[in-house]
Symmetry: D5
Subunit: 125 residues, 10 copies
């Protein structure tokens, strides 16, 4: 699972002097519960302020699809997606929200964020 | 009702260095009105920032199910769930919201929160 | 479980000469899965054309509440409720629809109806 | 309660040669439960094909308001409204639907209709 | 108010051999209550199967706008629109539905239809 | 109307050391317009942080029902409910929101709040 | 158009010592586009904290109705309503939001506010 | 515009012995108004029972995209799509519904259907 | 793919003398596009009137999950699920509806049904 | 693509002494993906506080329509619209939000803002 980050492609941010926000919402995420082997389904939302690199959309889709048959917990997959995307595009700010469908009458949302050292979210409009 | 807290199981938080947020929403909560003996129905939402422990999802379900035949008031059950979960996982921050279905034309929501001494919610993204 | 029907009370239909329709929707039904012991939750809708007797609403609520700790399958509980209510009020027509909440990503609806011999639903407006 | 029908005013139908449909929906109906003295709330829908008379809207509102402090059952009020309005305007066809708000977790709908002898609903578009 | 029909323009139906359906929904209709002088607001839906003529959309808008300061009852305006449009385009079938916003807690819908002699709605798909 | 406050019953707050929030929403409020005598309908939401007393739910319902035949303006009833409930339970904080149904095409919301001297809402989570 | 402000009537605020909020939403506003002569439709929301005067609801309706046949731009009508209402009732704070229906695929919202010199919105709960 | 039908590709229906229904909904259709040159936007729904051929999905998308810069009326485009698709796949039954976004406060829906001679829609489940 | 039908387990229908309806909705179906290798997502609804056998819910889930990594077209998977379930439980009537998420701006629904020879759907209530 | 800004027309702001907010939402934006040549669809929301100039609505529509056959990336089009509109009307504050429809299961939102040097958004109500 280490090498997934290589799937992500980036392109140059043309508006580097401006702090703006990009949000991608992937409503067809699926992975496998490591305990029961049953599939999990969810929606992954990625919100970020690019620095010099933006995430290429098609590679993001392939990256998310690569979890299809992986056994991984809710908490881990959310944090790992954040770590991988930060490593790939070094954003000024990034948040990942993973909303999982109901299991046994309980639905879950995991939300994690990253902020680069030189960046202050209070600067965001 | 004292020993309910023992039902809750925890597991180690793998991303201890990051303040992130976990939300579990259980829409099938039911208990009994201590006055009338009639069943109450509601949705319990638990939102927390883990410290070194996370709440195991299946045990959370069993814990909430254990109230099925207990006579307990809205205000008490909300505060007791918060106290039990804080005791079980010592989170940096936790909020419990209990939304109860209409009784006699009135629906009720109870919301209570806990914050550990070393933690400042303003640090949350 | 045989004697549940005794809980249901009836009252005289004042408008016996007219075929009209009564629908009661109970959104807080709960019983127990006989296999796993886990609670099931659902909405029971009862639609009927009374003959000489109507179902008393409060007793209907107590009747439905009496399944709270019974282990019974979806298909059985729907047909049993229909049989019990027909036995209690001898309607011209009755339909019971039971909609159960998602279990393992699948939600279920069971729908059963009864029509008395002298009655033709085509007569209904 | 007998004289309520006198509140209803009518006016001449200008398009008597055409079977057309008028629907009035009053979402602010309230009466009193004859058993408990507690208020009931609901929506009354009146759908009709006029013959030579139409129901005047403001008088309909006053007629429905007149139930505000009357103790009357769901089934009775629905059938009585139908009887009163038929008496007042002699329509070709009329249906009254009364939807009552949740009481003890159960909501109820009562639906009753009238068809004049010379009229066949199959003639309706 | 007689000459309003002259506002409506028509164009030739290119698919005369096929019974198909056109629906126009105008959600910004307003006229004036002839009794109180207060404005009424509603949505007019026109559904028709053209014969050799179709209604031109911009002229339909002007036709409906022409009621803006006219004092006219709900029942009359619905039937008059139907009569005017039938006169203008001689459709095989036409239905007009007028939904008026709440007045004194009561909303109203008037629905009227026309069918040409040689046409049978049962032929419609 | 002075003595309405006596209808409200209170019970002891078991979790006095914690600032938590209770919200009751009564969607079946009705009073009478003092000018026209026509009924008004609305939803009353009461949100408070208890100090040593909580409001008993059934008495709250009876208190709200007591306005059924009172002639009172929107602005007055909202402020009076706030004053009465503050007098009855001395909360740390309380807000009353009254949403009234459309009259003559205009719907209204009145919102008033109370904060005890020793309490700072910024302390609320 | 100057004299419209005279239509607005006011009454004395009974709860002058408390900063509370009144919101009136009029969903049936219509005026005329000064350029094309075509009608515009929208919803006007007026939110204010009264000082010693409140706006009388029926006169507000007549005031808004008075724009029915006026040619006026979106930006102007919003600011003019704000100016007129401030002149009529001298509120501590007032905001007017005008939401206009889609024209050529574009819908528009204009929002303007007034704050009296002695008032600080941060004092609002 | 004649040759558009050549864009549509078909594939063999594997379940030829069964009358079943396929529905494709394309919510991103756009063409140009032949009168004003302004773009029109809509949703095209195609519902059919295949005979020996099914419509290939990607070619359907390209076929619909080919109208992007064509000037064509609502009524014409709906009937032309039906004619083209019938020519391409000779279905047992086909219906095309085109829903166009609001222009000047009026939205429009055009619905046309085709049935092959040997086929009777009453045979459909 | 032939042997998937063996996954499906059945149990005896206790109410064999009554024609009633069972509907299971699985909103988490996923398979793979045989052309592009990309995942497809959809909701499968199974509606049937049992004869002597009912479908066991957990085995149905496993049966549907078994398509997770299969390359199969929309039309084929819908018809195959129908064939497999009919083979497994010999129902009086069964309908399968498969709703697939948007691909390239087009969403698709496939609906197929089976009726046993001795059964007439007109007998269904 | 440079000259698009010339399409935008402006008019004088009549309420220059007040900081107020104008929001235009264009739900029918379409451009072309520069990579695949396939059309993209979205909603563009423009929110601004005018200084001495306002954007004329019809020219804004023509400006947005001018992207119909341009190949341009999501990130670029959002920032370019912001730059062009700022150049045209020199607002005190402006934000552009572009929400694009789902492609390959992922929908995207891009949000960028501009603030003039003499302006502080904290001054906004």
């Amino acid at each position: 699972m280490k090498d997934k980050v290589k799937i992500i492609e980036v392109f140059e941010n043309e508006y580097i002097e401006r702090d703006y926000e990009i949000t991608h919402t992937a409503s067809e995420f699926t992975s496998v519960c490591p305990k029961t082997g049953q599939p999990d389904f969810g929606t992954i939302t990625i919100e970020y302020t690019p620095d010099i690199l933006c995430i290429e959309l098609k590679s993001l889709k392939l990256y998310l699809n690569s979890y299809r048959n992986e056994g991984i917990y809710y908490e881990s997959v959310t944090n790992k997606i954040l770590d991988d995307l930060v490593e790939a595009c070094h954003p000024r700010f990034m948040r990942v929200v993973a909303e999982f469908k109901t299991r046994g009458g309980i639905s879950s949302v995991i939300e994690a964020a990253y902020e680069s050292d030189e960046f202050d979210t209070d600067d965001l409009f």
